[in-house]
């Protein structure tokens, strides 16, 4: 049935008649205007800046408007090393963003702590406190990698359903949009991770590719 509808749509398009659904229109609009937060933590931010400039030109994907306020941003690119001292501020910024909101963890440090993983002062991945949509490895990732991550996020937004159990977080009234801000403890951050998001549960939509 679904396939028939798709075929019909293509057939109609050939005849010059365009059809769409509210869902498609809504997601099309959202995915092509994802405004990131002006927010860099370390050397990955330099690559993020390069991605936003003319050569790599993230404006081609509708994401050139880096907002200086979390209230106006849709996407947080965690670009760089998240120190334990900085982690509460990162989570607070995320909490201040309005739904729907997305997170790209950019670079080895943001996804795992990177070369500083064994240190005493670096968080072992921002996914311990906030839900991450796309992880990019690399030290730092090339601008192409960030563009690829951004296109991955666009595909993800495009596939979101507005109704049913699979609908995204911002359409569920009881789903959390804020996450607990970790506190400074005597030896470490407290708690060390948020149980709701970490470690990834087996039913999580985030799969590790084989």
């Amino acid at each position: 049935m679904e396939q028939e509808l798709k075929d019909l749509k293509v057939e109609l398009q050939k005849q010059g008649i365009f059809t769409t659904t509210l869902e498609e229109l809504y997601n099309w609009g959202r995915k092509n205007s994802v405004w990131p937060l002006t927010f860099g933590l370390a050397c990955c931010a330099i690559e993020m800046i390069a991605t936003s400039m003319a050569r790599y030109d993230i404006a081609r994907f509708g994401a050139e408007v880096f907002r200086p306020s979390p209230r106006q941003a849709d996407l947080m690119i965690v670009a760089g090393t998240v120190t334990k001292k900085m982690a509460p501020q990162v989570v607070r910024l995320y909490n201040q963003m309005p739904e729907p909101k997305y997170v790209i963890a950019m670079g080895a440090c943001a996804i795992s702590g990177g070369p500083f993983r064994d240190g005493y002062n670096v968080l072992k991945g921002i996914d311990r406190y906030v839900p991450v949509d796309v992880h990019i490895p690399g030290c730092p990732p090339r601008p192409e990698a960030l563009l690829h991550a951004f296109m991955t996020l666009q595909k993800k937004i495009d596939a979101q359903q507005l109704r049913g159990e699979g609908r995204p977080r911002h359409l569920k009234a009881d789903a959390p949009s804020e996450y607990p801000v970790p506190g400074y403890g005597a030896h470490n951050l407290e708690p060390m991770h948020n149980d709701d998001v970490f470690p990834p549960k087996p039913e999580s939509p985030f799969k590790v590719l084989p």
Partner: protein, 225 residues
Amino acid sequence: MSAPELGAVGVDLSADALRALLVAAIEGCSVTVVENESPSGQRSLVLDHEHAVEAAIFLRDNSELRLDFCSNVTGVDWPDREVTEKVKVKKMVEGLEGATEQEVEETRKTLAPGYLEAVYHLFSMEKKHGPVILRLRTRDRAEGNHLPSLTPVWRSAEFQEREAFDLFGIVFDGHPDLRRILMWDEFADYPMRKDYVSPAEDEPVLDDGCLPGAEPGAEQGAADA
């Protein structure tokens, strides 16, 4: 080894010369020269707590030396260490002809108490010479972790003494604003000390089954197939 470290105008900055100057200028000042066996051969001066500030002001204001710039302050942790030495002792030894007094070699183990150290690198902007290296040593690594602050002498030491306080736990008496600079205020440990162990964290790894699609040995099986 002790070639004079010459500045542009030929001031003798060698540790021995500076020690002689300091001892002559400051009454009761105790200065010890620390040897350096490395190829750089940079020797340094250990100052006593009571005269450290006075000696620092002398080094800064002396018209020949004018060490007006403290470029670097760092901390060093010297933990307690066990010293083994062989000592000859006289002892009664049971032999064939009864007990006789003999000289016997014994190994003795003593515990040398550790201490914390602050190292200052001084240069002169005016005379364009340096470095001169000062060391201050604490009494021990526990309650006796106090040192006189040299921030009143060189303002550039302020943040770096705070860093040594933060990471090594050296308390600088006389510092105008001694608080943690890198770690948060609630933090209780001194992470650059040799005996610091970072807190255990629950770290999932790829093969412990917590991540879907990454069963232990999966990679191995794929390689075989």
